[in-house]
């Protein structure tokens, strides 16, 4: 950290309580923030290149390895993209089971972030362990929620980390009704914990800030979006997911190994809980809408610090949705519908806990992947994170630097950024004369 009277630079070399390796760099001149950068220095991971030449059936298990927290999201976007390429629709109980699996991931990922990684910021603790001594009940509630989410993933996915039971066309094995029933008991208790969680986090003191985001999320005719929908935005975008590349572009910036994603002609946009919530509030059950209002949240929330409340509401939604799916479940006749590969391009877009996760695959006639493109949510949110940093820091520039730094770190954790997911290959250009 360096300081002089007119020019200051505040840096955090290694961000804590986020997934992956990132840094923060804030340049200040007088009373103005001149640059706010989320540095991502984690090495590129080459997943898109790994996929080329591999059989389509391997894809769900390879992409699951991109993230230990949201492997289901990668599997779901992948299987939908490949089924789209092969002209296959997965309906009925198989579709419901996929939705149930995704609920498990939302529950465990959001509960972990809300209580163990984000709440300590608002309550002034350095980490969840120190917080647990005084907020033990909340931490135990979060552990129970996480366990419930893990249980869903373990049953449907074979194991809780990097599940192995998802395939193009459905699953390798589907559960019986009797196997699902213990989950219902666990989820019933988890649902109560989720209600308490919403009320608890809604009572935190939030910095006052409203950001004029362009929200982007999936929107489905009937459901709060998980696996399907059109891509819509708060400024009129409404496209089929296949048209993503005509509206969005990725670009390289020097300080990040993750590509920045922008809306063509408009720039930064926001994906994730705040966007899903604002664009799909009417798709939430009435009880959850009422709870949101009761805790002071309207149908649109533009304060990034209150994303913790929206995440908690989404935990509650995922518990209720999972319970409804289990109650209605009748095992399908087959664990997977038949799939015939063909030369085609397919698109998949689902709502990972951190936001829209878009996949495109080109498949050859023999079923091998010719090309793959994966656009994860943290990559898409980078420009918004940097704009948030500027907006958050500007009104507090007269405060001590430790305070500014802490507030900016908190602003980054609002996104629950998954840096490891977001890193892409750096383009290397050689100029010879």
């Amino acid at each position: 950290m360096t300081t002089d009277r007119t020019t200051r630079r505040i840096t955090v070399d290694y961000l804590a309580r986020v997934e992956g390796e990132g840094s923060l760099d804030l340049h200040i001149e007088g009373d103005r923030v001149t640059a706010a950068r989320l540095g991502i220095f984690e090495p590129p991971r080459f997943f898109e290149a790994f996929l080329r030449g591999r059989g389509f059936a391997e894809t769900p298990d390879i992409v699951a390895r991109i993230c230990g927290i949201c492997p289901v999201a990668y599997q779901m976007s992948a299987v939908h993209a490949l089924e789209n390429a092969f002209g296959v629709r997965v309906e009925g109980p198989l579709r419901a089971l996929r939705r149930l699996l995704y609920c498990g991931e939302w529950i465990e990922s959001h509960a972990l972030h809300v209580v163990m990684l984000h709440a300590p910021d608002f309550l002034g603790y350095p980490d969840a362990i120190r917080m647990a001594a005084e907020h033990g009940e909340r931490v135990r509630g979060a552990l129970a929620l996480k366990k419930a989410g893990n249980s869903i993933i373990r049953l449907l996915g074979g194991r809780e980390i990097h599940p192995v039971n998802v395939r193009v066309g459905g699953f390798y094995r589907v559960p019986s009704r009797a196997e699902l029933m213990p989950l219902a008991e666990q989820l019933g208790r988890a649902r109560e914990s989720a209600v308490e969680l919403v009320r608890w986090v809604a009572g935190f003191a939030f910095p006052r800030i409203e950001r004029d985001y362009e929200f982007v999320a999936l929107r489905h005719p009937h459901e709060y979006p998980l696996n399907e929908g059109r891509l819509v935005s708060s400024r009129g975008l409404d496209i089929d997911i296949a048209d993503y590349e005509s509206e969005f572009e990725e670009c390289q910036v020097p300080h990040s190994t993750a590509l920045h994603s922008l809306l063509k002609r408009r720039g930064a946009y926001l994906v994730g809980p705040l966007a899903r919530y604002a664009l799909n509030f009417d798709r939430l059950p009435e009880g959850i809408q009422a709870l949101a209002r009761e805790v002071g949240l309207g149908p649109v929330c533009r304060n990034p610090f209150q994303s913790i409340v929206v995440r908690a509401l989404e935990v509650l939604y995922a518990c209720e949705e999972a319970l409804a799916i289990i109650a209605a479940y009748q095992p399908p006749a087959v664990a997977a519908v038949p799939v015939e590969p063909r030369a085609a391009t397919g698109f998949g877009c689902t709502e990972a806990p951190r936001g829209t996760l878009w996949h495109r695959y080109e498949v050859a006639a023999d079923g091998a992947l010719a090309d793959a493109r994966i656009v994860p949510p943290t990559s898409q949110n980078q420009p918004s994170i940097e704009a948030d940093l500027e907006a958050v820091a500007t009104p507090i520039l007269d405060q001590p630097e430790a305070f500014i730094r802490q507030r900016c770190e908190l602003a980054i954790r609002n996104y629950d950024p998954c840096i490891s997911c977001s890193t892409h290959f750096l383009r290397l250009a050689l100029h010879r004369t």
């Binding site: 290694y14 804590a16 309580r17 986020v18 997934e19 992956g20 230990g68 927290i69 972990l112 972030h113 163990m116 990684l117 980490d127 969840a128 362990i129 120190r130 647990a132 001594a133 033990g136 931490v139 135990r140 552990l143 129970a144 996480k146 366990k147 893990n150 373990r154 194991r159 809780e160 980390i161 629950d416 998954c418």
Partner: protein
């Protein structure tokens, strides 16, 4: 009689990380009645609630490579005064040390916690145990059985190990 839980940590498909499951395989069927054996290859945080009421937690796990593969260490967190330094740097960072730290904060940590650790050297996906770690499996299992027997001895008969 003290309530004992033996916890074997590790992923059998990740080279030397399979130490815990390998030791558990040696212990299975040889532990006295009433001593529970639990394996964990995933989320350690899930186990914390199960530790309530446990008097002695005996853990076995592979430790990070430090140049002496196969070296066996025994850490008595009460006797040695060792408190794991929680390092919640990342959302993937909830290991045994963090789980024990969290259990302590929640009042769920067993009064005695002993960790048997064997230093690994290879943790590649799909790899078997290295020769050095494989050679330590029987020794660790015997030490743990002796430790279980010591803790199960009636008070006053002999000091716990």
């Amino acid at each position: 009689m003290k309530r004992l839980l033996v916890l074997a940590l590790g992923n059998p498909d990740r080279g030397d990380d399979g130490l815990g499951p390998a030791v558990a395989a040696r212990l299975r069927g040889r532990l006295p009645a009433g001593v529970a054996l639990r394996l964990c290859a995933g989320d350690v945080l899930e186990l914390i609630e199960e530790w309530a009421g446990v008097d002695v937690l005996l853990c076995v796990d592979a430790s990070a490579a430090q140049g002496e593969p196969g070296r066996i260490r025994r850490l008595d967190l009460a006797a040695d005064g060792l408190v794991p330094e929680p390092a919640l740097a990342s959302s993937h960072g909830f290991g045994l040390a963090e789980a024990l730290g969290l259990a302590r904060a929640l009042g769920l940590a067993p009064p005695r916690i002993v960790v048997h650790a064997v230093e690994g050297c290879h943790f590649a996906a799909g790899a078997p145990l290295s020769a050095e770690v494989a050679a330590a499996v029987d020794e660790v299992a015997e030490r743990m059985l002796a430790e279980v027997a010591g803790f199960r001895r009636p008070a006053g008969d002999a000091a716990a190990p």
